[in-house]
Every structure is written in structure tokens, then in C-alpha cells.
């Protein structure tokens, strides 16, 4: 009995460790090799940097040669503004859809949930045309608009679930207290949605930060490139500056990790709170 339990626990851990290695391995490889000289990257790609192979040449080149800070700034602006607006509009829409019954509310909820099932990239050509017509081509605004559309459906879905768990007496009490509807949302409901908002924030940020597709088709100048697109300029048709690519990629990972760490406590609460109580 005892042995069987041990064996089962061991098996589970083997699977988990294997999965972690599989998921983290490539990232580790990128970070590790970003600190190595070019020869060492190709000579022994799997070994960590040592005194003879350690080199910061990649980072030095990235800082010197490219618009990396502009890219970073662009990525941050796009990600944070998109996230903020997705959270604001998502929470407001979720509240409206679960709280108020109005003509077409069911149809609207259904329409918004289509975005969960149909990837927004299917509309790339139309989006490109729209942005061109609107004169938003090669602007960060275009990216932000697309990302809001991309993030909203999931945000509304998750936040609606949470709103349904908030006791409705609270809303009634606020109404009896004479609190206006907008203040009920912002001062009574929204503070209670904090764990859910953290969850949605992470789910929104990661795909936006990592996205390559929309910056590729919607931005054309250096001043509007995001970090993921910026890295591509080190990948040439004939020659690839691997030191710089790896260094830039390593740096691009960092902000997401930081954000994740900040939100992770709330995130766990958000993911599990529906399950237990």
C-alpha cells in the first residue's frame, strides 16, 4: 500500500519534472547562450558559460546598434494601455451583461463570446485594410485597438463568472444606500473583482507582449516596432547575429516574468476561488 503510494507519487513527479524541463529547456538555452561568445554558442550550445566562453558581446551590440529602448518602450506602451483598457471595458461589459437585462443582451453576450472561438488573426487582411483606411497604419494605436479586440472576449468571460459569485445583496444594499450605478460598479463591485482582474491581466499581457504577427503587418518603421519584432532585425537572410538575437530575446522575457511574479499570488486566488467555495 505504502509502496504503491510512493510509486504513484514518483511517477507523477517524473512526469512533472519532464514537462518542466521540456517547457523551460529552450528558455534556459536562450538565456544561457546569450552570455556566451559566438564560437561557444555553436561549439557547445548545451554547456553553461564558463570563464573562457563568457561574453557580453550580444548585450553590448544590442544596446549599441539597435533601437532596443524604443522597441521596449513601444512594447510597454502597447501592452499596458491594451491591458488597462481590456480590464476596464471587460469588467464594465461583464457587469452590464450579468446585471442588466436589456434588449439584445443575450445576443450581445453571444456575439462577444465568438471572439473566444474565432482567432482574431483570421481577420488580418480586413484589419490591415481598416487601419489603412483609418490612417492608423504604422501607429501604436492600431496595435492597441487590435489587442483590445483580441483580449476582450476572454476577459468578459472570466469576469462574468466572478461577478456571478458576488452576492447580489451587496448591490441591493448599495442601491438602498443611494449609491449611483456607476459608483456601485467602481467602488463596490470592482474592488471585489481584484483576484479575477489579476488573472485576466496576466492572460491579456502575455500574448500581447509575445505577439509577432500584428506588429509585423501593422508597423513598418523602427519607431513603432515592438521588442519581438525588433529582435527579427538581427535575423538576416544571409547572416544572423545570434549573440544579439539571444541577448534581445533574454531581455524580452524579463518584463513578463516580473509581471507574472507580481500578479501570481492574486492569480492563484483567481484561478482556484471558483473551484472551492
Amino acid at each position: 500500500m505504502f509502496l504503491e503510494q510512493r510509486a504513484r507519487a514518483l511517477a507523477v513527479h517524473v512526469v512533472l519534472v519532464a514537462y518542466s524541463a521540456l517547457a523551460l529547456g529552450p528558455i534556459l538555452l536562450v538565456v544561457m547562450n546569450s552570455f556566451k561568445a559566438r564560437n561557444a554558442i555553436f561549439g557547445s550550445p548545451l554547456s553553461p558559460p564558463d570563464s573562457s566562453t563568457f561574453s557580453l558581446i550580444g548585450y553590448a551590440k544590442v544596446f549599441r546598434a539597435s533601437h532596443i529602448f524604443v522597441y521596449f518602450e513601444n512594447s510597454l506602451i502597447v501592452t499596458i494601455v491594451s491591458m488597462g483598457l481590456v480590464l476596464l471595458f471587460g469588467a464594465m461589459a461583464a457587469w452590464a451583461l450579468s446585471e442588466y437585462r436589456f434588449r439584445g443582451s443575450t445576443a450581445l453576450a453571444l456575439f462577444l463570446s465568438i471572439g473566444i472561438m474565432v482567432p482574431i488573426r483570421l481577420g488580418s487582411v480586413a484589419i490591415l485594410n481598416m487601419m489603412r483606411t483609418a490612417g492608423l497604419n504604422d501607429t501604436l494605436t492600431a496595435l492597441i485597438l487590435v489587442y483590445i479586440a483580441q483580449g476582450l472576449p476572454m476577459a468578459i468571460f472570466i469576469l462574468s463568472e466572478f461577478i456571478q459569485q458576488i452576492p447580489m445583496d451587496l448591490r441591493d444594499a448599495a442601491r438602498c444606500d443611494g449609491v449611483p450605478e456607476t459608483r456601485i460598479f467602481f467602488e463596490v463591485i470592482a474592488p471585489l473583482l481584484r483576484p479575477a482582474i489579476a488573472t485576466v491581466a496576466v492572460f491579456t499581457i502575455v500574448p500581447i507582449w509575445n505577439d509577432l504577427w500584428f506588429p509585423l503587418i501593422l508597423t513598418s518603421s523602427d519607431s513603432t516596432h515592438t521588442i519581438t519584432l525588433g529582435v527579427q532585425q538581427f535575423l538576416g537572410q544571409y547572416i544572423t547575429d545570434w549573440n544579439s538575437v539571444l541577448a534581445a530575446l533574454s531581455m524580452a522575457i524579463l518584463p513578463v516574468v516580473v509581471i507574472y511574479v507580481i500578479f501570481s499570488r492574486q492569480l492563484i486566488a483567481g484561478l482556484t476561488s471558483g473551484a472551492v467555495k
Binding site: 452576492p167 445583496d169 451587496l170 441591493d172 444594499a173 448599495a174 442601491r175 438602498c176 444606500d177 443611494g178 449609491v179 449611483p180 459608483r183 467602488e187 463596490v188 474592488p191 471585489l192
Partner: protein
């Protein structure tokens, strides 16, 4: 302070009628309790008075204001919820003042009201705490405090004690009664607990299936229930009912016979031979070796001893169960066959449609 009038009020959800033609006048300063089994519409009525649920038909007046179209806050009501409904992210003081911000009460006045309510409810040491750090009783006191600071025309309570344990329920009940005396405010209180209703109310409104069955003072409902429903609902354990029929009428006296009791001469008018009659007697009014025209007997199956009294469960001749309250130490033995009697004044009679039949010579 204001009175409250509800006229021909109805509420439907689609084809389901939840409330049907409700008429009720609550006097200024009166404590009214709405009581009834779950699903009888009492909470819906309260929510409609509050303005949280819409009115399908009829009118609601607070004072001389017609409030059908007004938002809850404009009606000058305050509501206390079963779940307390305190704002979890605000401390006690903020919970009480939060609403006042929006109704144009100056900061100094807010402060005065909170301090006064806190003193009244002994909440002063708790003002800086958050709801999660309070016990159930304290939370409900804060919720009541939040209602008081609004200085409403009408207080509405929606089962405020149902989430509390037995001891707290009694002490908070006393607290609410004290508060009503202190404030002299008009209060409407919903509960399914008849003890709360009997102890708190100036008048009780008994509801069932969306209708008002009877409105009256606690003792009126107890001694003179208007119909079978009220007779069965008020009083614990519930009144015993004996189905019977009129065998003969002689002058002003009807002879009632039934399987569960000895033939009974009932001085009542308007009864025709053959009419169905239900006789009702409360457990506490039946006596072993007692006096009176009503008599029933059966074998004792179970005795519940509560100390000052015991409840004997007796199988009647018509195979239904009868509950009798026996006072004192002497309780009947199990399987013993016992005869119980009740005097005329403690007998209730109901006609085929369940309405009470007046009994001549009875005190009520």
C-alpha cells in the same frame, strides 16, 4: 417617520403570479412583521416596497408620496439584509458613511450620525475594523447601524436574524425591539420564524401563496385565527385538526361528528346538516382528565420531555397523530390510552373553505 400604504399590489413573473392584490397600511411608528412559509411572497413584497423589484400592478405610498417610480434611495427607506451585505473592503465606519456621501449629507453631520448610531448599537470599539474581523452578531449590528444613519422614513428588515445562532438570535431580537422603541420608527420586518413575529410585531401579517391570510396583533392571531392556514401556522407545535361533518342542527347548536373525536355540540350559526367542518384544538389546550365538551382519545406513542412541559404524540382513532402538551412531572406512559378534553373557549371550527366559524359563548 412616515406611514406606508400598499394598495392592490400585484407582482407577476411571466404567467406566475407571485403577489396577488396586497393591501396593507402601516401606521407611523408601527412595527409590522410579514410572516409566512418560504415562497409565500413576503420577501418579494419587502423588495417591492424597497424599490429593488418593480411593481406589476398597484401602488405604494410612503407618507403621501407615490413611490412606484422612485429609486430605493429616493424612497427614504433603509434595508437590512439577511446576509448583512456589508461592503467587505470598507471598515465599519466607511460602511456606515459610504451611502451618505451620495445623498448630500455634510461630513460633520455624517460623523455625528455615525457616532450616535455606534453609541446606540455599542459599535464604538469596532468602527475601525473590517467586516471579516467581526462576528455574525456584530456584522448584523453594523448593518442595522448603516440603516440608522440614513435616518429613513421606513426601516425594512429581510430575515435579519436567520444567519445567527440561537443565542445571538434572541439577543439581537431584543436589540431590535429596543431600537424600535428608541427610534419610534416605522418598521417592516420579514421572517419565517413565528417567535420573532410574535415577540417583535405590533401587528403581524400572515402570508401564504402570494396573498395576505390575516393581519392582526399576535394574540389575535393566536386566539382568533381567521382561517385554517393561520391556525396551523401560528403556534408551536401546530394546532391539531379534526375533520368532521355536521350531523344535525338543533336551534343554534350543531352536532358535529368525526372519526377522531367524540360527537360535539357546537353552538354556531349558519351550519347546514352534511356540511364539512374542521375542528381545531391547540396542543396546550388539551388536558388529561380536563373539562369541556370536546373529547378525543388515543394511544400514546412518544413523549418528548422539555422540562417544564412535555409533548405527547398520540395516535387518534382516525389513525392521525395528535400532539398534546402535558405540564408538570406526570407524563402518560407509552402505549397507554388516554382521553383529552378541551373547553368550548379553546375550540376552533372551520368551514369547508377553511374560514373560521364563530362559536357562540366563546371568549373570542
Amino acid at each position: 417617520m412616515s406611514n406606508l400604504r400598499v394598495e392592490h399590489l400585484g407582482k407577476s413573473y411571466g404567467s406566475a403570479n407571485v403577489l396577488i392584490d396586497i393591501n396593507l397600511t402601516v401606521e407611523n411608528g408601527e412595527f409590522i412583521v410579514l410572516v409566512g412559509p418560504s415562497g409565500c411572497g413576503k420577501s418579494t413584497l419587502l423588495r417591492m416596497i424597497a424599490g429593488l423589484d418593480g411593481v406589476t400592478t398597484g401602488d405604494i405610498y410612503i407618507g403621501d408620496r407615490h413611490v412606484n417610480g422612485l429609486a430605493p434611495a429616493e424612497r427614504k427607506i433603509a434595508m437590512v439584509f439577511q446576509s448583512y451585505a456589508l461592503y467587505p473592503h470598507m471598515d465599519v465606519r466607511k460602511n456606515m458613511t459610504f451611502g451618505l456621501k451620495f445623498t448630500g449629507v455634510a461630513p460633520a453631520e455624517r460623523e455625528r450620525r455615525v457616532n450616535e448610531a455606534a453609541r446606540m448599537l455599542r459599535l464604538e470599539p469596532l468602527l475601525g475594523r473590517y467586516p471579516r474581523d467581526l462576528s455574525g452578531g456584530q456584522r448584523q449590528r453594523v448593518a442595522i447601524g448603516r440603516a440608522i444613519v440614513r435616518e429613513p422614513d421606513v426601516f425594512l428588515f429581510d430575515e435579519p436574524l436567520s444567519n445567527l445562532d440561537a443565542a445571538l438570535r434572541v439577543s439581537t431580537r431584543v436589540e431590535i425591539a429596543r431600537l424600535h422603541r428608541l427610534l419610534g420608527a416605522t418598521m417592516v420586518y420579514v421572517t419565517h420564524d413565528q417567535t420573532e413575529a410574535m415577540t417583535l410585531a405590533d401587528r403581524i401579517v400572515v402570508m401564504s401563496e402570494g396573498r395576505i391570510e390575516q393581519i392582526g396583533k399576535a394574540l389575535d392571531l393566536y386566539y382568533a385565527p381567521a382561517n385554517l392556514f393561520v391556525a396551523g401556522f401560528i403556534g408551536s407545535p401546530a394546532m391539531n385538526f379534526f375533520p368532521g361533518a355536521v350531523e344535525a342542527v338543533d336551534g343554534g347548536t350543531a352536532r358535529i361528528v368525526g372519526a377522531g373525536f367524540e360527537p360535539l355540540a357546537l353552538p354556531a350559526d349558519g351550519l347546514d346538516p352534511g356540511a364539512k367542518v374542521t375542528i381545531g384544538v391547540r396542543p396546550e389546550h388539551l388536558r388529561i382528565a380536563g373539562q369541556g365538551p370536546f373529547a378525543t382519545s388515543g394511544a400514546v406513542e412518544l413523549v418528548e420531555r422539555l422540562g417544564e412541559s412535555s409533548f405527547a404524540h398520540v395516535r387518534r382513532a382516525d389513525d392521525k397523530m395528535l400532539v398534546v402538551e402535558v405540564r408538570g412531572r406526570e407524563t402518560p406512559a407509552i402505549t397507554e390510552t388516554v382521553t383529552f378534553r378541551a373547553p368550548l373557549q379553546d375550540i376552533h371550527a372551520f368551514n369547508a373553505s377553511g374560514q373560521s366559524i364563530p362559536i357562540k359563548g366563546s371568549s373570542h
